[in-house]
């Protein structure tokens, strides 16, 4: 048999494998998104019958500690803290944790809120770096600021957990603006099923381009920047599709660090956040599953598609690349730490469904996809490719991707309507296509590169260029 024939056979086999992989991956997405559609319909039905005023008025509404970890956030910290203090909720405290910032984050907080240092018993329920001081505000009864030695985001959150006093903790990123009724919605499952609810997560939306006034998003608009728009489609897909879908299967492995509510006692029981990972949000949730299933405690985690938190996303390819690199490393670490759950029937749907999905599609996917691109290019160069098959493969890959994005945009348009103008939705549909041509490929490259940085770079805060939330004109660079 000639070399050309053998090589051609190998390429054909490989192409078939890649084809099957893509169909499997995207079919999984379709199943998840189908579940998301059903779940969204159910959720909206339930929400219609629930009056948030009741939650607000009820004496049984649990108290919440809102934790905001901050590292060099001088440009946004005042706005974000004000937004948190203005949340509509009957009993809550806001705990801002300054993780050894080298800029004027702490000074600004002190000046703006009239902070004064108080004695605080160092009661370490979960491990964290040394706390330099605890401050309370002379103007706001429910504001506490913790100043500590730099130790990373997970470490800062652990310090916040130690200082917080309420039964539920709600984690909010320092570059995010939480909608005023988000806490009421986050707390609802804890009230409706107090016996077994341990975590709830909310939707993160992108504030770039929006109009902001009084620390609130007042008008939702699409940005002009390509990177921001393409990420909007990506976020819609991730939050309104995949996470709602996984939540329907009770197999949610991620609650975003930008907005998530947790039962404080359970978090303390598992030792708080893992300080050795950059993906502390996912790792915490996976470990919660692991612990609660190990001790056979019945529990529920909910993803709620309408408590909204607005965040900024990077508007340059470098910023997006850094962020994706960090996320992928976080994924690798989380799966690595909890690898024993993989295909382990003891962990039920988590071990048998969610973990395999994350390992085979999210973890190995970028590598597999990259190798696929390389093989196709090599095959074309060596004239080994059946072009009809190649076109078919590309058509399926891109169109499946587009369909999945369109379903997410559809859920947004029909169920939530944050983008009330039809042109905005149509623009998002265009980006649903652009997302699959170009962005997806570079994203694959960044995520593959993360394997290298995983072994070479030490854990640290994700430093990205912040935009300033301005009352006058939205997010400005």
């Amino acid at each position: 048999m000639r070399f050309q024939e053998i090589a051609s056979g190998v390429f054909l086999m490989f192409n078939l494998m890649v084809f099957v992989y893509f169909v499997l991956l995207n079919s999984t997405y379709l199943v998840l998104f189908g579940a998301a559609l059903i779940e969204t319909r159910k959720y909206l039905g339930r929400s219609r019958a629930v009056d948030l005023e009741e939650v607000f008025r009820s004496p049984l509404t649990p108290s919440i500690s809102v934790l905001i970890p901050a590292y060099n956030e001088e440009s946004v910290i005042i706005e974000v803290t004000r937004a948190a203090l203005g949340l509509r909720y009957p009993h809550f405290e806001v705990v801002v944790i300054n993780d050894g910032s080298t800029d004027s984050t702490l000074e600004r907080l002190k000046r703006e809120f009239g902070l004064q240092r108080i004695t605080r018993l160092n009661d370490c329920k979960v491990p964290c770096a040394i706390v330099n001081g605890v401050y309370i505000s002379s103007a706001y009864e429910n504001l506490v600021v913790v100043d500590k030695v730099n130790g990373g985001k997970a470490d800062a959150l652990n310090a916040g957990i130690n200082v917080s006093v309420h039964d539920i903790i709600c984690v909010v990123d320092a570059d995010s603006l939480v909608e005023s009724d988000a806490l009421l919605k986050i707390a609802r499952p804890f009230m409706e099923r107090p016996d077994d609810t341990v975590a709830t997560g909310g939707v993160i939306r992108i504030a770039n381009g929006c109009e902001i006034a009084g620390s609130r998003v007042t008008k939702v608009k699409l940005p002009r920047n390509y990177w921001a728009n393409v990420q909007i489609v990506e976020y819609l897909r991730a939050f309104l599709g995949a996470r709602v879908g996984w939540s329907a299967f009770r197999a949610m492995l991620i609650i975003s660090g930008a907005l998530g509510g947790f039962d404080r006692r359970t978090v303390i029981d598992i030792g708080g956040y893992n300080r050795e990972t950059v993906g502390e949000d996912m790792e915490l949730v996976v470990r919660m599953h692991r612990y609660l299933r190990s001790v056979k405690r019945p529990y529920r985690m909910y993803f709620l598609p309408d408590p909204v938190c607005w965040t900024q996303v990077p508007e340059s390819w470098k910023g997006v690349a850094r962020q994706r690199d960090r996320w992928q490393r976080g994924l690798i670490e989380s799966l690595n730490y909890n690898g024993k759950m993989l295909l382990n029937p003891r962990y039920g749907v988590i071990g048998m469904l969610a973990m395999p999905y994350y390992v085979f599609f999210e973890l190995m996917g970028p590598m597999f996809e990259l190798v696929g691109y390389i093989m196709v290019i090599t095959g074309v160069a060596l004239n080994l490719v059946d072009f009809r098959f190649l076109y078919l493969f590309l058509a399926v890959a891109v169109l499946y991707g587009v369909i999945v994005s369109l379903i997410a945009i559809f859920i947004e348009g029909v169920a939530y309507g944050h983008y009330p103008r039809l042109p905005a939705l149509l623009k998002l549909c265009v980006y649903a296509v652009l997302d699959n041509v170009g962005y997806r490929q570079v994203n694959t490259w960044w995520r593959t590169k993360a394997y290298v940085t995983y072994y070479t770079r030490r854990r640290k805060w994700g430093e990205s260029k912040r935009l300033i939330y301005s009352d006058a004109g939205g997010a400005k660079p």
């Binding site: 339930r46 219609r48 019958a49 018993l121 309370i136 009809r388 379903i407």
Partner: protein, 369 residues
């Protein structure tokens, strides 16, 4: 090769057709949504237009029959029927006495109540729940039977809650009996909405809660729920039945009972709370200390002072906070503890006193806790 090529063609056609159908479905549904939004905007505009005149009719002291005629004919045109119902429903919570009765009369007279009763009997899902809510808001006693039968037929939680809520709002003995009976038969219902419902009509429901607690409960979570609600009912008769549970074998039940006694605020609870301060479980001692800060008990000061030396830091913190709540005498004990500045007690005393000083010295913004 020929076969492979045909297969590829077939696959392209099948996948293409499938994707085209999905895209068309998505686009048409999105379009429908925009049509709906447009209709909603028109209804909102109508509501805005008729709202002031409806309010005038509702609050001008006119007779209900006269008001109803004016609304039906002169004030509001027939095409505004949906908008009028919305305005009436929105107005209901703000109206009291004769104005409220007038609204109920108008809802009956204009046929809204009959429509809602019909929907509660025949509709399904969200429409059934919505109409059930409307009956509760309009407060029509005619709706009780329909709501009770919907309650026994429906399994959808949001319909069940809508019916329970409305029956509780209507509040006739038959409606209250129906709600209590349903809650007794469905012990898994123990969420915030049920609590809210029980607390909104605490006078009517307190005897039932007391009875359920007396009976005891095998379902631990249900028991905890009832104890939490009982503490908030502000019914002096509850004391005895709650105090019984401070001697439960289950530490969480004991702690929730201690908290409930604190919320009740009845000094008769003091002996039970002192006993709880000596409990072997930290959680119970925390709640007992907090409760002692609320209830005026002779000897609370001494018990809390002793609690400052508790081996559990959380109990110490709870005692320090409770001492602060007891006013000058409690703060004097905390100041005494300050002498041992390096000890946990000293640091906790400093923490509580400094925080209290900050709060007392400004007290400008009382948002949150």
């Amino acid at each position: 090769m020929e076969y492979g090529s045909q297969l590829a063609d077939a696959l392209v056609i099948v996948i293409g057709a499938f994707l085209a159908i999905v895209v068309l479905t998505l686009l048409s549904l999105t379009f429908l949504r925009y049509v709906n939004t447009w209709r909603e905007r028109r209804i909102s505009a109508r509501i805005k237009r008729i709202e002031p005149s409806v309010w005038t009719v509702l609050t001008d002291g006119s007779a209900p029959a006269d008001a109803s005629d004016r609304l039906e004919g002169a004030v509001v045109k027939k095409r505004d029927r949906g908008a009028l119902e919305k305005v009436l429903l929105d107005a209901a919570p703000a109206l009291k006495g004769p104005d409220r009765e007038k609204l109920t009369f108008i809802s009956e007279r204009l046929g809204y109540v009959a429509e809602d009763i019909h929907n509660v009997r025949t509709a399904r899902g969200a429409k059934k729940a919505e109409s059930a809510f409307h009956l509760g808001i309009s407060g029509s006693e005619r709706g009780v039977q329909a709501l009770l039968s919907a309650l026994s037929d429906s399994r959808k939680p949001f319909v069940v809650f809508a019916c329970l809520d409305s029956l509780s709002h209507i509040g006739t003995p038959e409606a209250i009996e129906g709600v209590a009976g349903y809650l007794y038969a469905h012990q898994d219902l123990r969420n915030i909405r049920v609590a809210e419902l029980l607390l909104e009509r605490r006078r009517e429901f307190a005897p039932y809660v007391m009875e359920w607690l007396k009976e005891g409960n095998e379902d631990r979570n249900r028991l905890l729920f009832l104890l939490r609600v009982a503490g908030l009912m502000e019914d002096p008769g509850m004391y005895g039945v709650i105090a019984r549970y401070t001697e439960s074998l289950d530490a969480e039940v004991r702690s929730v009972a201690a908290r409930a006694l604190g919320l009740l605020g009845d000094p008769k609870a003091c002996p039970s709370l002192f006993r709880a301060m000596a409990d072997s479980h930290g959680l119970v001692r925390i709640e007992a200390a907090e409760a002692l800060g609320r209830v005026e008990c002779d000897g609370a000061l001494a018990a809390l002072k002793e609690g400052l030396a508790d081996p559990d830091v959380d109990v110490k913190r709870s005692c320090a906070a409770a001492l602060n709540l007891l006013g000058d005498h409690g703060r004097a004990v905390l100041k005494e503890a300050l002498q041992a500045a390096e000890s946990e007690e000293g640091q906790l005393a400093a923490e509580v006193l400094e925080t209290a000083y900050m709060r007392d010295s400004n007290g400008k913004d009382a948002r949150g806790t």
